[in-house]
């Protein structure tokens, strides 16, 4: 079987699943071309409900209005992230702005998905078919959005506990620097040297007790978080 697979690979250049995917993709595209009808792009009853209109509007509105807007927002975020990095003296395990980008994406996606329900679109049909009134926005939706905003605010206020011991870790395999440059993992000696350098750099201006500046720890006040933060503080450079 593996002999057959190897022969197929030699002949075709990739796994059979690749061929299957390609055939499926081309079949679908071919089917669309076969059944395509220019009339389908235009709705004579409501011009603004035409596929053609939405396509052109999306190109104009997205590429010329939305894209510059969120590119600008991301640029501003980049400036904030740079400041954050400088304050923290070292790279984060997760790039700082992703703490804003990802919650924004998640809450934007859910907002878009559940928007028809929020504005009660089609509520007449809903009540005609079920005998129930169109539901109000479920509470969890509001809670989820508040949660994502909270996450971003925490990040903007200062370093989190999870990120604080990040400076020695950036050289670890899988860390951001290792991943982005694609270099081989550094040797242990180099790692230690880097760690010493970082620690000297970090420790010199501050007294020993404050070396991690765990803002989240002071914010939270929970025993578990405090313990973790204390342990991290002890472990570092120690």
């Amino acid at each position: 079987m593996s002999e057959l697979l190897a022969r197929f690979r030699r002949f075709y250049g990739s796994h059979p699943l690749h061929l299957l995917t390609m055939v499926a993709g081309f079949s679908l595209a071919g089917y669309i071309l076969f059944t395509f009808n220019p009339k389908a792009l235009w709705n004579p009853h409501a011009w603004w409900q035409s596929i053609a209109v939405w396509l052109v509007a999306a190109v104009i509105f997205h590429d010329f209005a939305l894209f510059p807007l969120y590119a600008l927002a991301d640029r501003l975020l980049g400036i904030a992230a740079m400041r954050q990095r400088r304050r923290r003296r070292g790279q984060l395990r997760v790039p700082g702005r992703n703490h804003v980008r990802i919650p924004t994406l998640a809450s934007g996606l859910t907002l878009l998905m559940f928007w028809p329900g929020i504005v009660k679109q089609g509520s007449a049909t809903y009540s005609a078919a079920t005998g129930q009134n169109s539901a109000a926005v479920p509470r969890p939706l509001a809670v989820a959005h508040r949660g994502s905003v909270q996450r971003q605010r925490l990040w903007l206020r200062g370093p989190t506990c999870a990120g604080s011991p990040s400076c020695p870790r950036r050289h670890e395999p899988g860390g951001p620097r290792y991943r982005s440059t694609g270099r081989h993992p550094p040797t242990t000696a180099r790692l230690h040297a880097a760690e010493r350098r970082n620690c000297r750099h970090r420790l010199s201006p501050r007294p020993l007790g404050q070396k991690t500046a765990p803002t989240l720890c002071s914010l939270q006040g929970s025993t578990a978080v405090n313990t973790v933060c204390a342990m991290e503080a002890l472990r570092e450079c120690g």
Partner: protein, 206 residues
Amino acid sequence: MSRRGVLALVGGSALGVAVLTAGQTIGGITRQTVLFLPRGRTHNDGPDDFPINKTAAAAGIDLAAIGSAWRLTLTGGSGPVLLDRAALAAMPQHTARLPIGCVQGWSTTQTWSGVRLADLAAAAGVRAPLSARVQSLQKIADNRIGDYSHAVLQANQVLDRDAMLALRVNGVDLSLDHGYPARIIVPALPGVHNTKWVSSIDFQAR
């Protein structure tokens, strides 16, 4: 953001959307994962608490037509037979636990009781019906979804021992939205053909 990060983000988003929506289809306890949509709602308390696919209001049911003036008209025999609800209730009652499988995607199994369609055919004077055309009071829909104000039942559906014109469900009279004064319930018949608010049944003799 690294390429791996983008892939993880897209994959994670797709997974999240699946968790937030799939419970609607799977049902049961997974329905609780559909955080942002209504769930665990009841239709009304008591024996009528199961779904419908059209309200009496949406079907344009005239309350005067289903009150004391309501009569079931049976045709196909030598002459039309008119029965009021009391007369139907006086006939032999049959009880069966049967499902409604709705084209909307839900199904529900309830205990129905009413008069067997075979008995109604006999009352109309049709011994061996070939088919039966059931007419509802609901207004005729002129939309693309189709007109379900009437349905035609075949001989095997009329003569099935559980096929009936239901007057009651779970021990109480049908509610208005469930088809009061009477509705059709036939085993293994799509929900839309279990006609509600029945006004007449026309039996075709063999």
